[in-house]
Symmetry: C2
Subunit: 341 residues, 2 copies
């Protein structure tokens, strides 16, 4: 039996969507144990409302009673001491030997707790934040890491993450030896910081990965590589700029369509296709971001997740849990890396 | 008489557009001396073709004969020794005490030559690359710096650039005390690298500027600040991601419009408005990027510039040259900064 902890208190839209997602997931996956972490009374009330619709009972779930929202005031490390449902969820994960954890709470808090509460894979110094990105190519997605779990990112981290991300990509997208580009200010070898140049050298000699060299943002956007490897700050800025450029363009387009009667008709004729485009670049459809480099499966769902987004996040954990010996294989690869170095 | 050096050899589209732009500019600005740097024979042939159209004569220009394209193989510093029209242009600028320089050649080469060949303003350690960005707000533009002139960017550079950029913004957009945001992975004070936190402290205490705190990419895109201050690598990734997201979205929209007859009609109805949108986010209309922190006016035109883009670049130099005592005032402000520190 596989076991997932689901911190459901930290959602922008209240906990109802998360509970619906849990019910829907559980009704399709009877062999999964799901621990819901939030206010017990509220969870029970919601489950009673939903039990007929999803054909589940309250006893199908473990309920971990927890009432405080995670909150950072001055330093991310506060989350290690201050009571919160997210902290309770990580403690439950460890104490009960669960396999994975999902939350839509504050990214900084989630990354900090992941780093301190979950054992790292061998030769991985720090976990990385790894979302799945849509690209301009049809049906082509890329993995981006690190998208902001780390501020100072050493070249060794980058080399280790390359191995981890390759393994994820192979399983998720069923493609052997996915290509990896290292995000830089230019593609020429002489460009970039000392740290990126060191990473380049390590990656060129890393036999576990298919490293293609430096890339610029346009290569990541176009889908020219499978994995966009980046220092934490650059990866974060890349991700947020991409996301908000597309949102911004969408808004501008909406304004244009509302200019006058003719443009409104124009908009109507394009509506179906525009919806498809929006769906592709809507991050809720792509799913949550993985926190990788750890011995457990960790998925950060979007703060604004709805029922579908949450169920996708649970399925992201399930998908890899059901790949036989996923963590063990990754461990072996990372150990080989160390022997080579 | 104001004097501008114009390196015209380094253009993706050949030198014809640059010469047309020079002629058009000269015909409107008789009091400007323009030195054209490229192959003398070609320049003369082009000028003979154009003299009637623009009512100019060959003698209206200084021609600096130079035949080699700038080229970097292993290190940007090569441009200081290897013969090129860009190097000749910088030498001409210095030896003849010209006021400004324009080129559309390789950015790395142009920045390197600007750094080594032009005296820096007091208390400015390194020049910065500063493009003008369109934002989502109507008619609102922002200045971004540094967009990639520097890889390692110390907090002191950021504080100095803030003063320089404020002065540019005040003059270009006629707004006193423009607001400045510092690009980071989050807006909270506790977020980001040690370097950005140090910059934050300096900027908060800098009386010459209106610093509003950390910003994320979305604030820059939305036009929430006038000046986006960034470390070189982050600024470069932000700029390139923004530019290529918009280009990418444009392509996707084109594909959508071409789906079938109805969507094509939809596209036709929106055509006029879409053109306006494209014009706003087309960097050629916004103009070249300034290299700032130097005692001369330096503008990098886009590699793919056409006649209009080149003339805009020349006008960008002219605009500031005609602001009385621009460099002197900036020098005074920067000297005050030093006294305060």
């Amino acid at each position: 039996m596989k076991k997932i902890v689901f911190d459901i208190l930290n959602n922008d839209n209240g906990i109802s969507y998360a509970i619906k997602a849990a019910c829907s997931f559980k009704s399709k996956n009877k062999d999964y144990q799901i621990a819901l972490v939030a206010d017990k009374d509220i969870i029970e009330k919601e489950l009673i409302k939903l039990k007929n619709k999803y054909k589940i009972s309250i006893d199908d779930f473990i309920i971990v009673d927890s009432k405080n929202l995670v909150h950072i005031k001055n330093s991310p490390r506060e989350v290690l001491k201050n009571s919160s449902s997210m902290l309770d969820a990580f403690n439950y994960l460890n104490e009960n030997n669960f396999d994975g954890i999902v939350s839509s709470g504050d990214s900084g808090a989630f990354i900090t707790l992941s780093s301190f509460k979950i054992k790292r894979l061998p030769n991985v110094s720090r976990p990385a934040f790894m979302p799945i990105l849509p690209t301009l190519q049809n049906n082509k997605y890329a993995l981006l890491l690190d998208a902001g779990a780390n501020i100072e990112t050493s070249y060794e981290y980058l080399n280790n993450w390359a191995v981890v991300a390759s393994q994820y990509y192979e399983l998720i997208f069923n493609k052997q030896k996915p290509s990896i580009g290292l995000l830089n200010v230019g593609t020429e070898e002489y460009k970039g910081s000392a740290n990126l140049k060191e990473a380049y050298k390590l990656l060129k000699n890393n036999k576990e990965v298919n490293f293609t060299g430096f890339i610029e943002p346009k290569d990541g956007i176009a889908g020219n590589v499978d994995i966009i490897l980046a220092e934490g700050q650059s990866g974060n800025i890349f991700l947020k700029t991409l996301e908000h450029s597309f949102l911004g363009f969408g808004k501008l387009l909406k304004n244009i369509i509302n200019t006058n009667l003719l443009t409104k008709i124009g908009g109507l004729l394009l509506k179906r296709q525009l919806k498809k485009l929006k769906a592709k670049f809507d991050y809720r459809n792509v799913g949550g971001a993985y926190i990788v480099g750890l011995e457990k499966l960790v998925v950060k769902a979007h703060g604004g997740s709805d029922e579908i987004a949450f169920e996708n996040a649970l399925n992201q954990v399930k998908f890899l849990l059901e790949k036989k010996d996923f963590v063990k294989k990754l461990t072996n690869k990372l150990e080989v890396l160390n022997n080579e170095a």
